[in-house]
């Protein structure tokens, strides 16, 4: 039974996406409740899958009972099950938030459409993680591209359209590069299954090395484009700025990470670390990551629009993950995985608390924060915790992530990156702290006149409180998470 759960998860998410328009006609509230219950169910089953996978062994599922080389194969190892758990948790938190935040630019007819897209996107993300087949992965990647593009431009305003257009343009280039790489690999091995491909890569390397070089370069660049790794980040800030805050949150906290996970899967499972490193690709990623860490922060510093700023901050944080990955060591991978989760929580907390500010003030300007700490104390406190996590103040998960990365960087003798980490942290402080200062230390003449604090729906407050607390929890007891990550790495 438990080996069927991954498929049940997928089918449930897909069914929900299809059902939304029909149930909505009966009652929209019922749809929301149903979606929430379904997400809880998916989460619970993901937990069961993880426990099973960790204790018993990988779940391998063949569709239609075809052999691996013919049909599609799902392989649920600790890696896949941990990150589906991560995706599911964040998706649930953001879902709860979005059910409260009905205002921001999405009209009510679009609102149900939003959930169709949301569940489709979740379906595709789960699929990518479970799938053990490259072409299948490509299909899921395409689904994410299209749905997230629609989610960005869901507002009935002209403003997001150019951003969405650029997003879809660059993402298609990325997907096609990825597809091109798959074709190159298929040419030498005749397989699309990851395990089978990995077995034939070595023999292919002797016969047709140029194919593999092209495959590696195109797939890496394609995924970098989609993951907004530094020089390819150009689409990200605009896409974040104009999208509704829940979309930005899921995009920045989860979707972008999925592509990095695919890249990790490719490097570790298909090409192998030695081959990847012998082409100097680790150096390329290190340079991209290091440059991203600093340049992302510098660009963020100069932004007037808060959500663009957070977008650039994501670029810089993705740099941290990429550096961890590019070290090509267990310690580096550990730090990358930890940072993926830590940044997911932190960025979601930031975007959602900014969402509350937008809900309240209808403006995204960095200048509009004066005195907000007294109007929406809970939201601004969570924002503060998340900002401290970004800077890397101890007691938050961001500090542990930085610590891990620092240790990993040293073990690879890349001492220069210690300096990069510090400069990047300092730049982070330079744009997050002024916002906090303005929120808590500037008196706003407006709020003193206002007698009552405007009510924020509990459905919006609860998720960010959970996010803030989990940032602190992981910051104080990182070993909770570290044990899981160590398990994943041991079995990867």
């Amino acid at each position: 039974m438990i080996s069927q759960l991954p498929i049940i998860n997928l089918v449930a998410l897909l069914l929900m996406a299809i059902m939304v328009p029909f149930i909505k006609k009966i009652s929209f509230r019922a749809t929301l409740w149903l979606g929430g219950i379904l997400l809880i169910g998916v989460l619970v089953s993901s937990v069961f899958i993880f426990i099973h996978v960790a204790n018993v062994g990988d779940i391998i599922y063949h569709f239609g009972d075809y052999e691996s080389f013919l049909g599609i194969e799902f392989k649920v190892d600790p890696f896949a099950s941990l990150f589906t758990l991560f995706v599911g948790t964040l998706a649930f938190i953001i879902y709860v938030y979005s059910s409260g935040d009905k205002t921001e630019g999405i009209e009510s007819p679009e609102f149900s459409r939003y959930y169709v897209l949301y569940f489709l996107m979740l379906f595709a993300m789960f699929g990518i993680l479970y799938s053990n087949d490259l072409f299948n992965t490509y299909v899921f990647i395409e689904i994410i591209s299209l749905t997230s593009c629609a989610i960005i431009s869901i507002k009935r305003k002209k403003e997001p359209y150019p951003a969405a257009f650029r997003y879809v343009l660059l993402n298609e280039i990325g997907s096609l590069s990825f597809l091109f790489g798959i074709a190159m690999l298929y040419m030498i091995s005749g397989h699309l299954n990851i395990d089978l491909l990995a077995n034939t890569i070595q023999s292919g390397w002797t016969t047709l090395p140029i194919n593999i070089i092209f495959a590696i370069v195109f797939m890496t660049v394609g995924l970098s484009l989609k993951a907004a790794i530094f020089p390819f980040h150009i689409w990200l800030p605009d896409a974040h700025a104009s999208a509704p805050s829940t979309s930005s949150a899921i995009l920045s906290a989860v979707v972008v990470k999925i592509y990095i996970l695919v890249l990790i899967k490719l490097i570790l499972k298909v090409f192998g670390v030695e081959l990847f490193a012998s082409l100097g690709m680790d150096t390329v990623l290190l340079i991209f990551g290091g440059a991203g860490m600093i340049m992302g922060s510098i660009f963020a510093m100069t932004q007037k629009d808060l959500k663009r700023m957070l977008g650039y901050s994501s670029v810089s944080q993705i740099g941290y993950i990429v550096v961890g990955l590019a070290l090509m060591s267990d310690l580096g991978l550990r730090s990358a995985f930890f940072h993926i989760i830590s940044h997911g929580l932190t960025k979601a907390a930031l975007f959602l608390s900014v969402g509350i500010v937008i809900y309240l003030k209808k403006s995204r300007s960095v200048k509009g924060f004066e005195g907000l700490g007294f109007q929406i104390p809970i939201a601004m406190t969570v924002f503060g915790i998340a900002a401290f996590s970004m800077i890397g103040i101890p007691l938050t998960s961001g500090f542990i992530a930085k610590w891990n990365l620092g240790i990993a960087v040293e073990s690879a003798s890349q001492y220069i990156f210690l300096g990069v980490i510090v400069i990047s942290s300092l730049l982070n402080a330079m744009y997050y702290l002024p916002i906090l200062f303005a929120a808590f230390l500037k008196d706003n003449p407006e709020h003193q006149e206002k007698v009552s604090i405007e009510k924020i729906p509990a459905a919006m407050l609860l998720p960010i409180v959970v996010l803030g607390l989990s940032i602190l929890l992981i910051g104080i007891y990182p070993n909770l998470l570290m044990q899981l990550i160590d398990l994943v790495i041991a079995r990867l």
Binding site: I213, I234, S278, L279, G280, P394, L418, L426
Partner: protein, 709 residues
């Protein structure tokens, strides 16, 4: 028949109000506790022997004083008190203040009780798993000395604050962050490993930011921003050093790591260098001291007193702690070669200290704002402490003199500098004037304040019979020792040391003269004499200054020597030189006489020729020299980039031009420049997308193929 009730008489002006009577009593009880503590430690009247005779009582007392949990209570009581007053503060100011003072007072009493435990080998507590690496707390005599002086100063400053901040806005927030800072200071000095220390140190930076920024004016915001960013930079430097140390050594406990460190090449110098700079930012070491004179004048008086009295000491304590633990060998029988690393570093640290003290005192002589002058004196006095730390490193197993001098000066400076800031606060409280040239003649109106200011000034100038003299003469011995055992070049350091001491004397003659004794036409009619908690707190601090000056051996024998004996200093040296030190010998007193004469001379010459008003021209200031080339570069690059299609628009050009009068700040210019570059990279739609994609993919392909071949 007429009946007059006593109440119907015209009410006399009460000199002592009930509230000030209460605070005075509290100060009195605290001093009494300290007296009992000293009595018990010194075994006056055989009090301890009598206790020991009663075995049952002795056993229960012993177990109570040796309970390790006391340490955690002392650590977290302030935070608990802080949250309690947060709950109360909205409703009743009276109860809030009582709660805060009560918590501090209990903390002092409890920390006195820990003494037997600390001297019997110390306390060690561990919390494994917390924050991944585990936290640990160790209390040896060095840590205990810091804890005690922190608690003493904090209590008196807290009592002062109760009166001083009573009527101000947002004082609840001030108390709350004061409580958090309190806990973090205690945590940093109790830490058993660098990681725990870093944790508390970093939170201390953030919490004390809110003390500095308290008034939320334009200037305090700016100064506090400098404060927090420099603090963060320092924290990050420590973080790098900590990562290196953790990776190379595998453990961050404060114990000798020389075995692993000596295997490394230059990295071991990097580690200690980063640590010294990181802690040095807080300690106000010279190239990184600039936050200190900015933050002090704008912070509320209690915050300045604590900042200068305690918080910057944590920086010096950090340097001392890491240097004497990681870089000291495990036992003193090892060959001299093991000391080499720390001796090399010590050489530089002594000079860093000498430069710090001379720059501090030179700048202090130029100031007119009382608090800014005191802040520069903090820099200068921290120079003394850093010199002591440097001597402790440089002389290796004979460094005990420097060690003792540094710790002793930390204690002394905590007392007199916090008192001086409180005096400045009282002066400002009554006159609303901080410029010392505009004051004068205050001794008639504020006799108590004048008296304590005089004692503090005598203390900081190092006049015999006051505490500064003791630690300064130990430090002087240390420098002489460095000349004997090390290099002759330290003779120069000795001269500078004497000159700086003379400068300090001159500076405080100036302060006392201009603020209290100068003849003035101002009558200050609004100031009436009133006895309040501020006076009591200040007198208590002044009393401690005088007592330490009169009986210097108590701290030496009961606090410093036990610590030094437990470390790896040469025992012969410690017993023969340090414990036999005579503070009041003729040569020291003569040197002091010379210093006072020189200082008076400097003051008279400076006053006569107006040398105290010298200021360097703008183009020579460091900030200008560093910043201007960048302005030029940014302006040029903004003009050059994409000149044909998108010329710089006139508004932006005006903002970024390099005119002398242009007020645009560095950060703003930087933002404009970056935005211009960024726009060039990101804005053009399809064209740039294609260019970036194709270009990068080609470059990476070529790179991969070249790597392959």
């Amino acid at each position: 028949m007429t009946f007059t009730s006593p109440t119907s008489k015209p009410k006399q002006h009460l000199i002592i109000t009930p509230s000030s009577a209460r605070t005075t009593t509290l100060v009195f009880i605290a001093l009494l506790f300290l007296l009992v503590f000293v009595g018990a430690v010194e075994n006056w009247f055989g009090i301890i022997d009598k206790l020991n005779a009663n075995t049952q009582l002795q056993a229960s007392l012993w177990s109570f004083a040796h309970a390790d949990v006391l340490l955690m209570i002392v650590l977290f009581l302030p935070v608990v008190g802080g949250f309690a007053q947060l709950a109360f503060g909205m409703r009743a100011v009276k109860w809030r203040d009582r709660m805060v003072m009560g918590a501090t007072f209990i903390n002092l009493a409890l920390s006195l009780l820990i003494y037997p435990n600390a001297i019997d080998g110390g306390i060690h507590l561990e919390f494994p798993q917390a924050l991944g690496l585990g936290l640990s707390f160790t209390l040896d005599m060095l840590g205990y000395t810091m804890v005690l002086i922190t608690n003493i100063v904090w209590l008196f400053v807290m009592i002062f604050t109760h009166v001083y901040m009573g009527a101000e806005k947002r004082s609840t927030r001030f108390y709350f962050f004061m409580a958090i800072t309190y806990t973090t200071v205690l945590g940093a000095v109790m830490a058993g490993d660098l990681f725990t220390m870093y944790l508390f140190f970093e939170i201390m930076t953030v919490a004390s930011y809110l003390l500095v920024v308290h008034y939320q004016q334009e200037d305090s915001n700016r100064a506090a921003t400098t404060y927090i960013f420099m603090g963060l930079v320092g924290g990050f430097l420590i973080l790098i050093a900590m990562m290196l140390l953790y990776f190379e050594v595998g453990d961050l406990q404060f114990e000798s790591a020389l075995g692993a460190l000596n295997q490394l090449g230059a990295v071991r110098y990097w580690i200690i260098g980063l640590l010294i700079f990181g802690f040095g930012v807080k300690a106000g070491m010279v190239p990184v001291h600039i936050w200190l004179p900015k933050a002090h004048p704008v912070a509320p008086t209690p915050a300045s007193a604590l900042l200068s009295g305690i918080i910057i000491k944590v920086g010096a304590y950090g340097i001392l702690r890491v240097a004497t633990s990681y870089y000291f060998p495990n036992s003193n029988i090892e060959p001299d070669a093991v000391w080499l690393t720390i001796e090399n570093v010590g050489f530089l640290v002594i000079w860093a200290g000498i430069i710090t003290m001379s720059v501090g005192v030179f700048m202090a002589l130029q100031q007119s704002h009382i608090k800014r002058m005191l802040a520069y004196h903090s820099v200068s006095q921290m120079g003394y402490i850093i010199t002591g730390v440097g001597i402790a490193m440089y002389l290796g197993d004979h460094g005990a003199v420097g060690y003792a001098g540094a710790v002793y000066h930390i204690v002394n400076h905590a007392l007199f500098k916090s008192l001086l800031f409180l005096v400045a606060g009282v002066v400002y409280h009554h006159t609303h004037e901080s410029d010392m040239y505009k004051l004068g003649g205050l001794w008639k109106k504020l006799p108590v304040t004048t008296f304590v200011a005089l004692i503090a000034a005598l203390g900081i100038s190092g006049i015999p019979l006051f505490n500064g003299f003791i630690s300064k003469s130990i430090l002087h011995h240390g420098i002489v020792e460095a000349v004997h055992e090390g290099s002759w070049i330290f003779t120069l350091a000795e001269w500078i040391f004497i000159a700086v001491s003379a400068g300090t004397v001159a500076s405080f003659i100036k302060l006392m003269y201009y603020v209290f004794f100068k003849k003035t036409t101002e009558t200050y009619a609004q100031i009436g004499f009133e006895w309040d908690g501020m006076n009591a707190a200040m007198i208590a601090l002044a009393g401690l200054i005088a007592v330490i000056g009169l009986a210097p051996n108590f701290i030496m024998n009961r606090f410093l020597l036990p610590q030094i004996r437990s470390m790896n200093f040469d025992p012969h040296f410690v017993e023969e030189v340090l414990s036999q030190l005579n503070y009041f010998q003729g040569s020291d007193l003569l040197t002091m006489l010379m210093v006072v004469a020189l200082g008076t001379g400097i003051f008279l010459v400076g006053k006569k020729f107006n040398l105290f008003h010298l200021h360097l021209p703008r183009w020579l200031s460091v900030e200008y020299l560093i910043v201007f080339p960048w302005y030029m570069l940014m302006y040029r690059s903004c003009k050059l980039i994409d000149r044909k299609r998108h010329p710089l628009d006139p508004d932006t050009e005006k903002m970024i031009s390099t005119d002398q009068s242009n007020p645009t700040g560095f950060l703003e210019r930087f933002q404009i420049t970056v935005n211009r570059f960024n726009d060039r990279y990101e804005k053009p739609f399809i064209q740039n997308d294609a260019l970036i994609y194709v270009g990068l993919i080609v470059i990476i392909l070529i790179f991969a193929i070249i790597r392959l071949i």
